[in-house]
Structure formats: C-alpha cells, structure tokens
Subunit: 228 residues, 2 copies
DNA sequence: CAGTGGTCTAGACCACGAT
DNA sequence: TCGTGGTCTAGACCACTGG
C-alpha cells in the first residue's frame, strides 16, 4: 500500500467517524510527517487528494481544515443567495470588492457598445469566503447603480429600482481553477479548483440584461438539477 | 515570480498559441526540468495546476497530453450520449464493464427490497475514456436485461423492450475525485478530479425506475443549464 | 518569536510503456 | 532495453500567522 494512500485513508477514517468535525483544524504537516515516519512531500500528496475530494481545504499559511457542509443549489431556479443560505442554516455574507466602469465593452458584445458596470463581490458562508462573482451590465440601463445597496440581491435592485425583470437565463458550468487574482481575493493558493459558472440573464423579450462570471469553491457547493 | 508559475505560464502560452494542439504530447517532465534548471517536483507542481485547470491530462505512465474539446451537455434534457457526441463531432464509444445482480439492495431503498441489476459502463470520446457509470434498476422490472444490447441507450431499451417510459429525473452534481476502483478502470491516477452525478429517474406516476452514479472527468464536460 | 504552510533542491527506486 | 511518470527521502529557505 502506498504511503500517501495510508495517510489519506487514515485521515478519511478520522473524518468519517466524526473525530475530525467540520471546520476543525487538522494536525500540522510536520506532525503527520513524524507520525508516519515520512516526509512533508508525501504528507502533502495525501492532503492534496483529500482537498481535491472536497473533504479538507487549506487557509493560506494557517493550516488545513475540515470542509463544512455544502450549499445545495439549483441553478435552474432564480436564486437569492441569502435566502438559500439561510434555509440551509448558513450565515451568508456579501462583500463588495469593487464597482468599476468599463468604457469599452470587450467582455460581452451582446451587451452593446456602451460603457458597462462591473460589480465584483465575494460571498461567504459562516465567515468562509466561497465565491467570487463579477456582474456586468449596461451603464445606460442602470444609471447611478453605485447609489444602490449592492450587497443584497441584484435581481431585486433591478426589478425594484429600474423596473427591469429577469425572465430567463442560460448558464455554462465547468470545472477549472481560480484565476490568480481571484485566488488572491479569496485568500486561496493559486491552482485551487473551482466551479466556473457564466450566466447570461434575459428579459422576457430576450434582451440580455446582465452577464455574470462566478467562481465557486469546488467543495462548497452541490448542484441539484431537475429534468423534464 | 515563482518558478512553477513560470513553467505554468510558459506552457499556457504554448497552449494558447496552438503550438501545442489538443491531443498532443507535452515534453517529458525531465525535459522541462532541464529547460528551467529546476527539479521534477517543481515541474510537477506546474503540471498539476494545469491539470486542475483542465488544460492537460495525464495517461498513466505514458505522459502528459493536451486536453481535447469538452463535451457540452445539458443535464436537464434527456440525453442520448451517442447522438450528443456525434452532433459535436466526437466518435463515442461505450464499453460494458460488468452486469451484476445485487441480491440485497443497499444502494437505494426507493428501488424496493428485491434484487437489483447493476450495469457498469465506460464511455469514451475519440478513444479517450471520460466517464464511468453504474446503473441500478429492479431486476423484477427488467427481467433478462442481460439479453438486451446494453452498449447503447438504456432509456431506449427500457422503452422499447419493457415499455417503461422515463418522464423526469433529479440529478445531484458535485466535484470530487474518482473512487480508486473507478480510477483503475479509467486508467487514471487515484486522486483524479471529476464531476460526480447521481441521477434518479422516474416514470410519469413518480415511480423510481433507475438510480445511476456517473463519474465524468472534470476536463471532459461542460454543462449548459437553462433557467425559467 | 515560534510554528505553519508554500516553495524548492538534488537526488533515489520502481512499474510500466514503447520499441 | 530505455525512457516515462509515480512515489519517496532528507533536507532547505521564506513569508506569513498567531500568540
């Protein structure tokens, strides 16, 4: 039996029995190294696999932790992140990273030639940052967006303030790694796996209203999809 | 700039310019090591990140290769793998791994107490194995399933031979790693990231017809989801 | 300040693939 | 048989965290 597999299985067992509870800190790499008469490289081989599996995650230079419950999410339904999280007994939080104006639209031709807003936010569950998103919409359509509350549901701001209703959307979902600048913002190592979701949202008459890019930590979300 | 980042960016660039074409083999780890005056550990650090990103993949002890195009797939639609693949100009293939009878159903209580069939298959695109699935259904409902063609659409066999129509389904989708036995079958290293999809399919009167577990290589699939 | 994880060196042996 | 990737050793220095 391979050494890193032994370490991996040892930790898996301690996770399965509940000896290591969600959120709690694992022994340090050097402790594990001694315990298994091995080296840090080999220990990290095991940890990397557990991380890919979604069982543990690292906080930069702080240590390794047991992954909390995943948020269950149905991408086909209009989501309100805060409500969804609360239903599942998480404490959600949204932090605004920036609101920029892009003078020339190179992101999404469908949104026209005019200037765009780009709203970047980080969302957390129980103090753990799990998602970064960049929301793009036409500045002309949402004048003075910066004067609105932007840490809640954008869908609701669009509906209530600008009378723009979202009727349907298309998502593309793939598995990749956080772009380096996103990893920085989420305080993750570069190369951290994630789900990338790009989302185009339309009005009833098929006008593109906004175009969003989301990066979810791969171990923080589980999708539910219902087919006809 | 970190050394493994330099190596990573160097390869990313060669991928972006098309110098390294989909399917083609990368230089060996030892070649890269010399080229960057580094060590294999560091080179592999870069390769691991490119793999997580979905840009390259490894074939066990054969080398590293550029990832081909992804299959685009809408999980909310009834899929026929072969048709879907052909539409996107792949050559699909299905290999039957095993058809077992499970005498006591510990997999899925909803399928009743009776014996279950468990059909395991591997699906490939252009000779690359990209998915493993285990299909579970009640033996009593699909007697002599082993006498049917099982390398095509099971949905069609159910409809045409057994007059059982699937009306709707629920999927759960998460990111994890291949279980070790699946990694073996797909000839991947253990710890390879994947999309895990569990799928429950029902008849119009809400009878559970089958319960399936699928493991897709994370770099082989992109999902499209449409929301109301 | 001590301890942590992140990065890196310079080797080694093995099983397996290609030839 | 030779080259490949897979695993492993025994160290090192650094940046950062936490007390």
């Amino acid at each position: 039996m391979l050494l890193y597999q032994q370490i991996r299985h040892h930790l898996q067992e301690r996770l399965a029995t509940g000896e290591l509870q969600p959120g709690c800190k694992l022994p340090s790499e050097r402790t594990l190294q001694e315990q298994f008469n091995s080296t840090r490289i080999t220990v990290r081989e095991a940890l990397a696999r557990l991380e890919a599996e979604g069982l543990i995650y690292s906080q930069k230079r702080r240590g390794w932790f047991v992954t909390p419950e995943k948020l269950k999410w149905n991408p086909a339904k209009k989501v309100n992140f805060n409500l969804l999280a609360q239903e599942q007994e998480f404490t959600p939080q949204t932090r605004i990273v920036s609101l920029n104006t892009l003078l020339d639209n190179t992101i999404c031709p469908e949104l026209g030639n005019g200037a765009l807003y780009c709203l970047s936010r980080v969302r957390s569950l129980n103090e753990r940052a799990i998602m970064f998103e960049a929301i793009h919409c036409a500045k002309a359509r949402f004048v003075d967006l910066e004067k609105q509350r932007l840490d809640g549901s954008i869908t609701e701001v669009m509906a209530n303030v600008y009378a723009v209703e979202i009727s349907h959307e298309t998502c593309q979902i793939s598995v990749t790694v956080l772009p380096d600048y996103v990893a920085e913002i989420l305080e993750k190592n570069n190369g951290t796996p994630c789900l990338k979701i790009t989302r185009s949202r339309y009005s009833a008459d098929n006008d593109l209203i906004d175009f969003n890019i989301e990066y979810w930590l791969h171990d923080a979300i589980e999708m539910i999809v219902e087919g006809h």
